[in-house]
Each structure stands twice: as structure tokens, then as C-alpha cells.
């Protein structure tokens, strides 16, 4: 009896567990991409084009950002592919620079709101005491005020410099990031490994960045994509109202506003010119819409991949 027992003696080494294949990061990304749906590909291509336009704006744009030509409100020509605006600046150039400015500001603002909201949300979740109460109630108060109106008010009090714009929208937007971070972190904070880290004597910084953050990253990244879009739209809206990006900096929201009047004149122009005047405000608006849709496609795909909501 004893010999047979020894033969069959189990060993921890041989216990079965599903060990993943050791794949390089490149391989894993390749597998992920090979499964990406068409919409995700569309989103990725559009976003990369925008990124290229933003980064290489000075090289791509035919003229300088604020370079003024003799003829204002010119229609399409070989010299100005998309014509000139009301004071004679090249529209194509303004669109390319607009990508850089609008997207850049939106990216900076979103990053700031995630630093503030994410940081405070993590602290609140770990503390769960009076710090949590103070943060949460304060955030509730901020969220009770309609954010666009609040932003307009603050921009009127301070000035609408680019830094001011980033700070104000960043702080206002951090409220939503705070709520998300806090609620997803609460699920992680109760895990035994967080308690184990606490028992080890680890400080708050370690618990925040090493124990919790890696586990809440997927929803945060998805939220980053969505918040980016909302910030982007807010900035465009503020610029449209004249309180956002100030001239001569090129910006899509301002371009829509400056050209909005042309829509009303469209019926009075003959056919080919009518098209041109209709497109004048629609081009920057289309740029905004296209980016919004593209980022949403990517976020949808990402959420689908990380949430486990997969088709069988």
C-alpha cells in the first residue's frame, strides 16, 4: 500500500494550471489587431492621420498659421485649395494648425483632469474615511453646477489664455474622473492583496500606484478616450462662443463660428460657389465630428476587448 502511495504522491510542480504561451508584446499586439473589427481600424487610421497633422503641422501646412493674403473670402483655387477666410488667411493651413491646437489643448486638459481626478479618487477610495467624505461632497457640489456655464463664468473672471482654459476645464472635468476612479477602486481596495500590502507597512503611494492602479487601468483608459472627446467638444463649444481659444491661434471651434454666417447666404449663390460657401463652416465642424466618431470606435473596441463581453 505504501509503495503505491509514494508513486502516486502528488507534487505541487505537476499541478495543472493554464499557463499562457510566452508571447512577445509585438506578437500579442499582432493577435489583438488581427481580431480588430473594421470600425476600430477606421478609428485608428483617422486618429493616426490627425496625430500626423498635429505633429507635423508646420511641414504639412502650405502657409504660416497667421499669414494674411490680399484677397479675403476667396473661393477654392490652386493657390488656396480651400480658399481664404474673412481676413485672408489660408483655410487649409488653419485646419491643419487647428488639429494641432484643438487636439493638443484637449489632450493636455484630459491628462490634467485624470491626474487630479484619478489621484484624488484613489486617495478617497483607500481612505474611506473623512478625507473621502470631504472630497466626495466637494465634487458633488462642483457637479451640481452646469459645467459649460461654470466654465464660461470662470473664463470671464480669469482670462481665456490657453493655460487658463486647460486649468479650468481640467479641474471641472476631473469631477467625473474622480467618481469613476473612486468607484472602480473601491472594488479593488477590499481585496486581500491590498490588505496584505497594508499589513506589510507600505505607504499610500505604493498602494495607489502598484496595487490598485494597474487593476483599474482598462476602465480608466476607456474613460480617457471618452473624456477626451467631451473636453474636445467643450473647447470647440467655448471657442464657438468666443470664450475659448483666442485669435490668431487657429482652432476649429472658432472657425465654425467665423464661417457660420455663410450657411444663410448659400441659396443666393450660383451652384458651384454655393457648395463652397456651404462647406466653409462644415469643414471644421466635420473635422470635429470625424475625430469624435473615430475615438468612440476605438474606445468601444477597447471596452469590448477588456470587459470580457465577447461573443462565444
Amino acid at each position: 500500500m505504501t509503495e503505491t502511495q509514494n508513486q502516486a504522491a502528488p507534487s505541487a510542480l505537476n499541478e495543472t494550471a493554464a499557463v499562457r504561451l510566452r508571447r512577445s508584446r509585438f506578437e500579442r499586439i499582432r493577435i489583438l489587431l488581427s481580431r480588430a473589427p473594421l470600425t476600430a481600424w477606421f478609428g485608428m487610421i483617422v486618429v493616426s492621420l490627425y496625430a500626423i497633422a498635429a505633429v507635423f503641422a508646420p511641414l504639412l501646412a502650405p502657409y504660416g498659421e497667421a499669414e494674411i493674403f490680399a484677397k479675403a473670402d476667396d473661393i477654392w483655387s490652386s493657390k488656396h485649395w480651400l480658399g481664404t477666410d474673412q481676413i485672408g488667411r489660408d483655410v487649409l493651413t488653419r485646419l491643419v494648425y487647428g488639429a494641432r491646437n484643438t487636439v493638443g489643448i484637449a489632450l493636455g486638459t484630459t491628462t490634467l483632469s485624470f491626474l487630479i481626478g484619478g489621484g484624488l479618487g484613489l486617495i478617497a477610495a483607500i481612505d474611506r474615511g473623512w478625507i473621502d467624505q470631504i472630497f466626495s461632497r466637494g465634487i458633488d457640489v462642483l457637479m451640481a453646477i452646469p459645467s459649460l456655464i461654470f466654465a464660461l463664468m470662470l473664463l470671464a473672471i480669469f482670462d481665456s489664455s490657453i493655460i487658463g482654459l486647460i486649468l479650468i476645464i481640467g479641474v471641472l472635468d476631473a469631477t467625473r474622473v474622480f467618481r469613476l476612479t473612486r468607484s472602480v477602486s473601491l472594488n479593488i481596495v477590499v481585496m486581500d492583496y491590498v490588505e496584505a500590502a497594508r499589513l506589510r507597512g507600505e505607504n499610500m503611494g505604493w498602494i495607489m500606484t502598484r496595487e490598485i492602479l494597474p487593476n483599474i487601468l482598462p476602465p480608466l483608459i476607456a474613460e480617457f478616450g471618452l473624456r477626451f472627446i467631451f473636453v474636445f467638444l467643450t473647447i470647440a463649444a467655448l471657442s464657438f462662443l468666443g470664450m475659448g481659444v483666442q485669435p490668431p491661434t487657429a482652432d476649429w471651434g472658432s472657425m465654425v463660428r467665423e464661417n457660420a454666417k455663410w450657411i444663410t447666404y448659400v441659396p443666393y449663390f450660383p451652384f458651384p460657389d454655393a457648395m463652397y460657401y456651404a462647406l466653409k463652416p462644415l469643414l471644421p465642424a466635420g473635422c470635429i465630428a470625424l475625430l469624435t466618431i473615430a475615438v468612440n470606435f476605438i474606445v468601444d473596441w477597447f471596452l469590448h476587448e477588456t470587459s470580457g463581453l465577447r461573443d462565444v
Binding site: 502516486a8 510542480l13 499541478e15 495543472t16 493554464a18 486581500d192 496584505a196 499589513l199 506589510r200
Partner: protein, 548 residues
């Protein structure tokens, strides 16, 4: 099967079942060519380690595979119907009515927003054969037969208003309500305390016998299956190891693997008294908010010895551990470590005090950060307490891995690439890395299969012999206590009921509570449950109370 029941009573006939699961971009076999037959009124026990495919096979008997799994071969013939290739709509007319399923976690299987009675009769109502009132009366009758308290009114409660054991019995009533031909029990008592388990087991067994229902009983607890099943089938790695009638299987298993399963429960260590008290807690009172959970608890832990703290859930075992570690500062009383009082609050304790008391948790899954590799997990205390970095740290991690009978190949694995036993070993290594004097083990083996439990217990014993670590071993499992402890503390409702050396506590006479607890631990004897119930009925005074 010496009696050879006639062919007409054959209810379920599964032939050459093969099932694959999809993970990591590939299809892996989960079940390989397993046959299973079941006659009306027969109870088949399916046992095996986790990952052996017993749940998958159990569900396959319903013609169901989990998302991400598929049938790759074989037939499931249920009363003349071929289930494995049937479409879902037709299957639904069978599920819940002709075949029902009792899940491990009743709490997770009930809809918290509906009353128990309505949920109990849902499937039968769908059949439309009997009126709602008839069904309700029938359900109340089932509640009564299952020994539920207040059978007339308990159905009006919501799931959160009854205890876990009661909920498990309501779920059995729900499965029984349409009078199915087959019930699949998937570890129905694993999450219950031993004292509750006895009641649930006996009521399930009676009911199955009364209605001549066939059942597949899936469990990893051999002692439980010995009480329930007529026939036992052992699975391993998705293949059948052997099957036989329960008594034959228990007395004369043929395969080595089965024998090794059977021998696990015999583990026992001689007790040793220890006089050098390392940690002592005295007159501890503690509370969560305004509800007091510990009353005047005093425990001594000698150096290099194991003190087991036993009791049901809610008895204050884990709270005691939280007081010792400083997570829950006590209201009064003291925690003394090596003659020095420990500050009640965690943040007031020094790094060295923290280092010397380590903790291992019940659920190794949640005790390890899923985003950290084994190397990070074990390496962190080395860096944090001992300042080991780089090559030194890596070398020490590998040493520790070898100490827990794993090897360097585990260094860059993530927790979800480990089996349950391996995970718990990594947690032990993490505690060991700090070179502690005391390790608090909170139900460290109760989530594991028995064969894996044995390995973990042996490992802990070896580490104690080698390094003289003292264990405070919290458990509700008496077999584990027998295997590892020197001293025993019995807790009940936040108080220490009994305390002393192992043999003294485990041998009669016991206080009433200890008696109830000790006698409820299933044994590997198919007559154990009958004997126990007869005994309790005879004594009368110790009727089982179905209350928490």
C-alpha cells in the same frame, strides 16, 4: 453494478463525451472520451480535483457547455433524447423542469429582488401543468420536508433574509419543485459550515430517495460523497480514473490515484507542548462599529508551535486575527509579543514588528495582485524589509520557490497561470520571505482540494520544523486541526469556549458546542450520516437548530 438494473430504468447515457474549451487563442481538451450512465433513482458521485472537469461533465449531462466550450464528440442520451446537438430552445423546455441544477453558491443564484417562494415555483409554473396555488402548497411541503424553519412563511422572505444553509435548501426545493428526473448538485455544501452541512446533506438525501430522483453529486469532499452516492466516479485531467459502487470504492480502490485521494485524511501530527510564550493576547474586546464581536478573548501562542482556532463562520476567529495584526484596534485588552505590548493600531507599529507577524489568506486568488508576477510578489517583502535588490533578490526568490517545492520557472508567471495549490504556496513564500516569527493562517486550506490540502499542510509543518515558526491556524475543518495543531482554541459567538492541548480537546467529554462541531465533521464511512442522525435523534436534547 452487480444488480444490473434493467435497461428500461436507464435515464442518462453519455457516451464518449469530449469537450474542448477555448483559451489563449487555442482549443484545449477539457473532457476526453468519458462515458457516464445513470439509472432512475440513482445517485452518482463525481469527484476529482479542481480542473478535473467534473463540473463541465455535470453540465454536459444537461446538454450544456459553458461559454467558450464546445462538444467535440459523443452523445448525451437523456431518456431517449439526444441533448448534445439539440438547439437551445428545445433544451430550455427540459432545463429547470426535467433536469435541474443546484449550484455551489445559492446566494449568487437567487434573484435578490424576488421572494423565495416565487422563485421556487418559477420553473414549474412555466410547465403550466398545475395551478399556482397547488405549486405553492407543494413548495411549502418541500420546505417542510427539507427541515426549514417556519415552512409556511419562509417563502415570503427575500434571499438575504435567510442564512446560507437555508438558502441552499430552498434551492434544493426549487430544483425539486417540477419533480425533475435528474438533479445535478454542483458542490452544494462546500460553502457551508460543518454543522449546517449535516442538515443540508441529510435533507437532500431524503428528498432524492422519496421522489426516486436520479442525481449527479459533484464534490471534492470524499467524506461527503461517501454519504450521498450509490456509485462513485473519479475524474482526473478530464478522464475517468475509475468508477465503482460506493462501498467497493471506499474499501478497495483500484487505481493509485484514488488510493492517494483516500489516504489524505489520515494525516496527523503528535502534539507538543510549548512553554516559551511568543505572542499572548489577553482579555480582548473588539467591535465593528457599535456591534461587539469579541468578548474577553485570551489566547497564548508558544514559539514554534501551532495553535488552531476553530469555530463556525461568525464565531470571531478572523476578527481575532485582525486584532493581532492591528487592522482592527481592540477596545480593551492587550496584545503582547515577546513580552512587549504591540500598539493597537497598524500605523503605530514598527517595520520590524510588522515583519515578524505575517499573514496567509483563505482565498489565494484575491491575496495576490493579478498584475504582479510571482517574482514581484515574493520579491517585494525581501526589498521592503530586508533591503534585497537586483540579483540578490532574484536569487533569494528562487531559493524561496524551491523551499515551497516549486522552481525557477515560476518566476515570471502571473497568478492566473497558477493552480489553486500553487497560488497558496506562493502566498506562503511571500510570508516566509519576511523571515517571520509568527504566521497567521486564515482558513488557508479550505478553498483547496483535499490532495492539495495535504501538500500544503505538509509544507507548513516542514517549514515549522525547519525555521521554528509559530502558526495561529484559523479553520473550521477538524481534519486540518488534527493534522497540524498542538493546541486548540474553540470559539463560539465571539467567546473562547474551550482551550487546551489537542488530544485533551478532541477527546470527550466536550462542552455542548464543541460536541456539535466535532460530531458534524463527515467521516469516510458510508454509514456515518445515518449513525450520527440516529444518535442525535436518540439523544433528543441536541436537536439540530436551523438557525445562524
Amino acid at each position: 453494478m452487480s444488480e444490473a438494473p434493467n435497461q428500461s430504468s436507464l435515464l442518462l447515457d453519455m457516451k464518449n463525451i469530449s469537450i474542448e474549451g477555448f483559451s489563449d487563442e487555442r482549443w484545449h481538451p477539457i473532457i476526453n472520451n468519458v462515458d457516464l450512465t445513470l439509472h432512475r433513482g440513482e445517485v452518482l458521485g463525481l469527484i476529482g480535483e479542481s480542473g478535473a472537469g467534473k463540473s463541465t461533465l455535470g453540465k454536459a449531462a444537461m446538454g450544456y457547455t459553458q461559454p467558450g466550450c464546445r462538444f467535440t464528440g459523443g452523445d448525451v442520451l437523456f431518456d431517449g433524447l439526444e441533448l448534445s446537438r439539440m438547439n437551445v430552445r428545445d433544451l430550455r423546455s427540459i432545463w429547470g423542469t426535467r433536469i435541474s441544477y443546484v449550484a455551489q453558491s445559492a446566494a449568487a443564484s437567487f434573484n435578490p429582488a424576488h421572494r423565495l417562494l416565487d422563485q421556487t415555483i418559477r420553473a414549474s409554473k412555466r410547465l403550466g401543468e398545475r395551478s399556482e396555488q397547488v405549486l405553492k402548497n407543494d413548495a411549502i411541503d418541500l420546505f417542510r420536508r427539507l427541515n426549514l424553519p417556519e415552512p409556511e412563511t419562509i417563502g415570503n422572505r427575500y434571499p438575504h433574509q435567510v442564512s446560507g444553509g437555508q438558502l441552499q435548501r430552498v434551492m434544493t426545493a426549487m430544483a425539486m419543485s417540477p419533480r425533475p428526473d435528474l438533479i445535478i448538485f454542483d458542490e452544494p455544501t462546500t460553502a457551508l459550515d460543518v454543522t449546517t452541512q449535516v442538515e443540508v446533506l441529510s435533507s437532500i438525501r431524503d428528498l432524492v430517495a422519496q421522489f426516486n430522483t436520479a442525481a449527479i453529486y459533484i464534490t471534492h469532499d470524499l467524506a461527503v460523497v461517501a454519504q450521498m452516492a450509490d456509485r462513485i466516479k473519479v475524474l482526473r485531467f478530464g478522464e475517468e480514473v475509475e468508477q465503482a459502487e460506493t462501498r467497493t470504492m471506499l474499501s478497495a480502490p483500484e487505481e493509485d490515484y484514488t488510493k492517494s485521494l483516500w489516504s489524505v485524511r489520515s494525516l496527523e501530527k503528535p502534539e507538543q507542548a510549548g512553554d516559551d510564550v511568543l505572542l499572548s493576547i489577553a482579555n480582548i474586546d473588539a467591535a465593528y462599529g457599535s456591534s461587539k464581536v469579541l468578548h474577553d478573548v485570551s489566547i497564548n501562542l508558544p514559539r514554534g508551535r501551532t495553535v488552531a482556532v476553530v469555530g463556525e463562520s461568525g464565531s470571531g476567529k478572523s476578527t481575532t486575527a485582525r486584532v493581532i495584526t492591528g487592522l482592527l484596534p481592540q477596545l480593551s485588552g492587550s496584545v503582547t509579543f515577546e513580552g512587549e505590548q504591540l500598539p493597537p493600531k497598524l500605523r503605530d507599529r514598527s517595520k520590524d514588528q510588522l515583519r515578524r507577524i505575517q499573514m496567509i489568506y483563505q482565498m489565494a486568488d484575491t491575496a495576490m495582485n493579478p498584475r504582479q508576477t510571482v517574482g514581484d510578489i515574493i520579491g517585494r517583502p525581501l526589498e521592503f524589509y530586508l533591503g534585497l535588490r537586483g540579483r540578490d533578490q532574484e536569487r533569494r526568490v528562487i531559493e524561496l520557490l524551491e523551499m515551497i517545492e516549486l522552481d525557477a520557472s515560476f518566476y515570471d508567471r502571473l497568478p492566473d497561470e497558477l493552480s489553486g495549490g500553487q497560488k497558496q504556496r506562493i502566498c506562503i513564500a511571500r510570508a516566509l520571505a519576511a523571515k517571520p516569527d509568527i504566521i497567521i493562517c486564515d482558513e488557508v486550506t479550505s478553498a483547496l482540494d483535499q490532495i492539495v490540502q495535504e501538500g500544503i499542510l505538509n509544507l507548513l509543518q516542514r517549514l515549522q520544523d525547519e525555521f521554528g515558526i509559530a502558526y495561529l491556524f484559523i479553520t473550521h475543518d477538524i481534519a486540518t486541526v488534527r493534522a497540524i495543531s498542538d493546541e486548540i482554541v474553540v470559539m463560539w459567538q465571539g467567546k473562547v469556549v474551550e482551550q487546551g492541548m489537542k488530544n485533551e480537546i478532541l477527546s470527550p467529554p466536550h462542552p455542548d458546542y464543541s460536541e456539535l462541531l466535532l460530531s458534524s465533521v463527515p467521516e469516510m464511512d458510508p454509514d456515518w450520516l445515518d449513525t450520527l442522525l440516529a444518535q442525535r435523534a436518540a439523544e433528543g436534547s441536541k436537536t439540530i437548530k436551523a438557525q445562524d
